[in-house]
Assembly symmetry: C2
């Protein structure tokens, strides 16, 4: 019975470790930035494993890689799974790679037990999930799902002026297949939580019900630099005092929403940044997230006038650019139900959870019934070379993925 098969946790772990060799950093992390030669090496290794597993590879014009295992009904919409192999500049071994390599492990396990699913299976490595090089996260899945026009994305450039198209061609991963949605039955993505909730509650599995709504801003607040020793209080226009008050406001607005609120200033830069000069200009980022669209709207509508009032009261000029605003993305209840049923049947501890981070699944969900599986990571740490998970945590996530995918791929139409 395929339903009782067990994935090979050791083989999954070995694949994770082998992938982590490519771009390994001295501190135990990974630097495998999208569409670099290291990314090419990772893709080549993944492609070799897929071919050895008898999967047929196709690549689309955004470099998204699709590895297909045929079903009994080749015309049926496939069940998809996957994630991404690119990393943050100082990233960990598991962010992205776990979902791709657990998908590979699902394929290998089905080979081992000689089971052919009713529907085809397609394992995806999405291009440039991290967004660290070309400035747009979830690029490959975003173009695929129609969020970004492909013509735009191809022209995005990195800091050195290299375009996405040029970078794809340089590593030989610009494929012929158009980057667009095809009919698919479902999409499942396994990912580390990148947060502390599962670990804190000692849960093996997060049954992800959807992703938070988000709004991101870029802010520039401007006063006037002047000598810190000679400029009296009444003549100061200190941009950093303005930024500090906005940071405090963002924090207070988050706290007013209880544990579901998220409000963060993560990036901040002071000009001229000299200890005896009153700061004349500060650039910073602001973001809010919330599982509920209406609450995010309230955050958005409350923030802008509050920030402008802070600037005005200090004689500062504020420029606020809303980079984007996403609605919350609920996942497909049937797919979520399969993940939950698998965790339950396997006797794993689990809880429902809302994804705080963005994932390829969030864009794919606009086109295909989707669910995600989270597994814990140590101290909730991610986007960090010290990101860490245990082999049995990876195996538990991989087993839930296997069962959810199989349930969907073999279900009666």
């Amino acid at each position: 019975m395929a339903g009782n098969a067990r994935i090979d946790g050791t083989r999954l772990w070995d694949s994770l470790m082998a992938m982590a060799e490519i771009g390994a950093t001295p501190k135990g992390g990974v630097r495998r930035i999208t569409l670099t030669d290291l990314d090419r090496q990772g893709r080549d290794r993944f492609r070799g494993w897929c071919e050895a597993a008898g999967l047929s590879i196709s690549i689309d014009t955004m470099g998204n890689m699709f590895a297909r295992r045929e079903g009994r009904d080749p015309a049926a919409p496939p069940v998809m799974m996957g994630s991404h192999l690119d990393s943050q500049p100082s990233g960990g071994k598991y962010d992205g790679a776990l979902g791709v390599l657990a998908g590979l492990e699902v394929m290998r396990t089905l080979n081992d037990i000689g089971h052919v699913t009713e529907r085809p299976l397609v394992l995806v490595n999405w291009t440039d999930e991290e967004g660290t090089r070309f400035g747009h996260s979830l690029m490959g899945s975003g173009v695929w799902a129609g969020v970004y026009p492909e013509a735009d994305a191809g022209r995005w450039t990195d800091v050195e002026g290299t375009s996405v198209q040029t970078a794809l061609a340089a590593i030989g991963y610009g494929g012929p297949q158009k980057a667009e949605p095809f009919p698919a039955d479902a999409y499942f993505e396994l990912h580390i939580e990148q947060g502390p909730i599962l670990e804190r509650e000692n849960k093996a599995i997060g049954v992800v019900t959807g992703a938070q709504a988000q709004v991101w801003y870029d802010a520039v607040i401007e006063g006037r630099d002047s000598h810190a020793g000679t400029t009296p209080p009444s003549l100061r226009r200190d941009a950093l005092v303005g930024a500090a008050r906005i940071i405090e406001r963002v924090h207070a607005m988050m706290q007013a929403r209880g544990e579901d609120g998220r409000g963060t200033v993560g990036f901040l830069e002071v000009v001229p940044n000299s200890r005896n000069v009153v700061p004349g200009l500060v650039r910073f980022s602001v973001e809010f997230r919330h599982p509920d669209d209406a609450e995010l709207d309230r955050l958005d509508h409350e923030f802008e006038p509050a920030a402008f009032e802070i600037a005005r009261s200090l004689g500062l000029k504020l420029q606020l650019d809303r980079l984007f605003k996403f609605k919350a993305q609920p996942f497909d209840p049937a797919c979520v139900g399969l993940v939950e049923a698998a965790a339950q049947r396997l006797g794993l501890s689990w809880r429902r959870i809302v994804s705080g981070a963005g994932h390829d699944a969030v864009y794919v969900a606009r086109r295909v019934p989707t669910a995600m599986i989270f597994t814990p990571c140590r101290d909730g740490l991610s986007h960090n070379e010290e990101e860490h998970i245990e082999p049995d945590q990876a195996a538990a996530g991989g087993q839930v993925l296997f069962e959810a995918v199989l349930a969907r791929a073999d279900r009666k139409a």
Copy 2:
């Protein structure tokens, strides 16, 4: 009568412009960082002018340059004047250079009228007033006055590991004379105000009565970086929120002192500084200044526990290093009186003022009766390529310097 002589404002201005050619920046400022080859070029030009004016040059082991004009009584303690020729990385044409070149103009004017003062005159170019390269401002005057031990200062290094000693030797300005105080009758320093007070009150001359007390800190506040999307409020340890509250507190403490208070966070750096990461660490500077020692003590004593309480309340770790604490430095009443009398006699508008910035005069004042003369600068702007003064403002300051120096150098013992 020497007392009725007028300095040559055009010659002074031409010298300022000629000096500003060395290290000129495209935006009209100056980048002439201490002990670089540009500093050497500036020193060489100054030396050439001094020699052409018949002054004898001596150089001490810290590179301080002394240009002497003999008096009728060569054994009498000299009257000193001067400032510095080094600049900020993006500095202006007048900060420092005005005091040195106005001193040169005093010498040239005395030559023109053929007047020999009773006491010798010594014009000084102090090494590294700005402190931007080796991390200690007022270095040359500080060593001379015994504030910094010379053995320590010689070993201070820049970011590339070059020591002060090595840099002095490289530009050929490590002299044989020991850097230590010699008996001197007085020291006068002309400087732009670097603040907006004189301009705002439409005064030509600031009669500087002393310098503010100051305390400077380096702060590091540490929480934990974590994913901005996944970390709930209760689990955040956001170092930037802590820094923001301390910035607000510094501002409030300044404002509570009225127009005499100064409190500034001018430098701040966020780690990892990524828009979707809750900041784990922030480094920043804090400084307070006040004309009154007792009030500065109160600021110092109030700040430390307040900052630690802010950190504690947010679960953050704060490290606070007091870099230095200076007492207020009153200038010599007799010297201050000569400056005031000169401004008055010349019919210039003037006011008494406390220096907000540090100046070589503040250290020299520990050893020699000292006063300073301020002239306005446009919008109070300094440490900025747009620093600007008018020729007649420079000439007025130079004339007051001339008269004060002459009154002291020729006074009966």
